[in-house]
Amino acid sequence: MRIDFHTHPVLIQEMVDKYPNYARMARNVFQIGNNFQPLETFHLQMDVAGIDRAVLLPIDCERARGDAVSSNEQVADLCSISNRFIGFASVDPLKEGAAKELEQAVKKMGLKGLKLDPALQDFELRDSKVYDLYEAAAGLNIPVLVHTGMSWAPSTLIERGHPMLLEEAIARFQKLNFVLAHWGWPWVWEATALALKYPNVYLDTSCLYYDSPREFFQFVFSKQIPTTLLERSLRNRMLFGSNYPRVEIKNMVYALGTLELTEGCLKKVFEENPGRLLGLK
């Protein structure tokens, strides 16, 4: 089963019709301009890319931006409609009762992980309240996916997502698996170093900020970071992530395929690593 570990359900027409703020948040906060599409298109995009299941990531940025960019409720709603989706929860670490809210999202809504975005949610990764949330996630035995590196969203600071801001938490919560989204770009070596040192660090490939996906991957994962490093040292820590709909899934699958990675390594990236992290049989 091939999994896309990084998608945002922000352009689904059925959700526009059902949730009043959905479209506004997609346009004004997430800043995406593409047309809304029926849920069927999401599934077809997965089909043409050869992806079986997709992780849906919400962002609870109500305090910072007025509402969520996809809420836990919306994600749970979509997961109830399609068994091809795996929903994550997002809670605001600075909100009173954040840990309890996460527990409810996991136990009552069936969500399988925690998504945090320090830029859009406007918090410091080293804030002690975030550590309370890590404690809760560890207790629930779920992974935490953190937006690291570049953020396109206006009124956000890129530096909020520096991967090294996570090192202390990674070292402290050794039983909690951290996914550093977007490979921490532009701090790709810092993200790589964390994955090399700490066994509880994973990196997702949803990394594209200029040129085409193939050109970007060829530079970052070949010239900047040697492909041999991925193959030899990180094959058990890489996750395929597309960042759909900021990029079509098929383009990211194609780009990854142009790297000189073995079939065995790609199987880990698409299937085994995400499966293990999500506890899928």
Partner: protein, 143 residues
Amino acid sequence: MIIKLEKIRVQTRKAEEAIDITPQVDEVVSKTGVKQGLVNVMTCHTSSGLLVTEGIPCLEEDILTHFSRLFPEDENYHHHRYLDYDGRLGFNAETHLKSILGGISCSFPIEDGKIVRGSRQTIYFMEYDGPLLRTYMVQVLGE
């Protein structure tokens, strides 16, 4: 003078495909009741197209294959950059170029309430960047 405009949606299912929309265009013309006039068909998108050719699968495949040969995905396109108005990168230059080359519209005369076209002419909606829910327009003018 009657002028009718209809917008028709089509869910494409592949990254690239040629979809025969001739029956849908015929139906729009028939519904308007126009006996003498003109019908114009146009896609609403810049990475899809509208073209007319013989309606056989081998040609459908040839068109897509040779458009891809003319405009390969991996060429050095200026469009491969971040587009702030879209909140994403534009790395689909080749799909726009295919749309330009193949065209985005076609017109046919209407006589006795029916489209006049050659026996082998088929109207295709061309998807170059799917799968997506797409829209094309059919406008009928006449009396």
